[in-house]
Symmetry: C2
């Protein structure tokens, strides 16, 4: 199913969700149309599965890896670096893009994906609040606004950043983590 | 033409670029298909005109208004606030979204739009470098990375921010301007 998701994501990315037919996807995957419908009941469900897969990757590649870190600041830093790594990986570019452009998904499936996105945002907010509390004093930005600023910085990367360019990924991630902590805490 | 751009943007937003036909757009605008082709030679050109219109608005509503401000920090702050205002305006939401999702545009038309986008980024970079220079000392982030962080924060707003919610637009804009300057300069 993950392989189907990855290939279908590429087809949606290239042809647009409305422009791609189930036949296009079946051909790309190497199945007959009937064979594809054996795996997935509709184009809507396929889009949902792709987005759900994107959220699974975020969980596995980022959240699961930082869950045992006790210090909130270090945990947030590792989360930022992990999320940047995920977005920058060429392999999953199409999935990232589809996850952002979720207007095509409607109704209950959309609600489910949005609930998973909200859960991640709440996780970031909690972590940010813990970092602010650890520092002490009056916070200079609401955790929710800081969380969305961070998501904006990271999720925008797919629009412009290419890891083969002048700025190496490690430098990018550490520069942005530092930038975020300065913005959040008022000092480097 | 601007009215056609606005209405066509809404149709593309709702049906997707590939899903919307020139007939759909003609109907929405209140023209016959032949009448629409009198104004615009193809769907590609229409998409280009919408994006070009989006960049015109950015020029008029943001850049033209700050061009006489001498102090780089004040000029950058007004640019940030003006750009946020533009993104947040419900009236032009569809145009913003289409401007971001520019994969549908190909070839020479895409190159032209990307050149206008690059020009705006260069403008931000120059302004950021001037602010860093004004402060003195060794810059803590490259102007280019700071410019893209800023664009990410602002351009992501359409995904989550609703001006009728708890955070008023003025508060949002000033919070993010402050956040950006702390991240850029290392102090509030």
């Amino acid at each position: 199913m993950r392989e189907i998701c990855r290939i279908a994501a590429r087809v949606f990315y290239e042809k647009g969700y409305d422009g791609a037919s189930m036949q296009d996807i079946a051909s790309a995957v190497g199945l007959t149309k009937a064979g594809l419908y054996h795996h997935i009941e509709s184009k809507d469900h396929l889009l949902f599965e792709i987005m759900n897969y994107g959220m699974d990757i975020l969980q596995e590649a980022v959240l699961d890896k930082v869950k045992d870190i006790a210090d909130p600041r270090e945990k947030l830093r590792r989360t930022i670096i992990g999320h940047i790594d995920l977005i920058v990986r060429a392999r999953d570019l199409e999935i990232t893009v589809i996850l952002h452009e979720n207007r095509s998904l409607k109704g209950a499936l959309r609600t489910k994906i949005n609930a998973r996105k909200r859960e991640y945002i709440r996780h970031l907010e909690d972590l940010i609040a813990a970092v602010q509390q650890q520092k002490g004093g009056k916070p200079v930005i609401a955790p929710r606004l800081a969380a969305f600023a961070l998501l904006g910085i990271i999720n925008w990367l797919y629009q412009w950043y290419r890891p083969e360019g002048a700025v190496k990924q490690e430098e990018l991630a550490s520069t942005y983590a530092d930038f975020f902590f300065r913005g959040l805490l008022g000092a480097a």
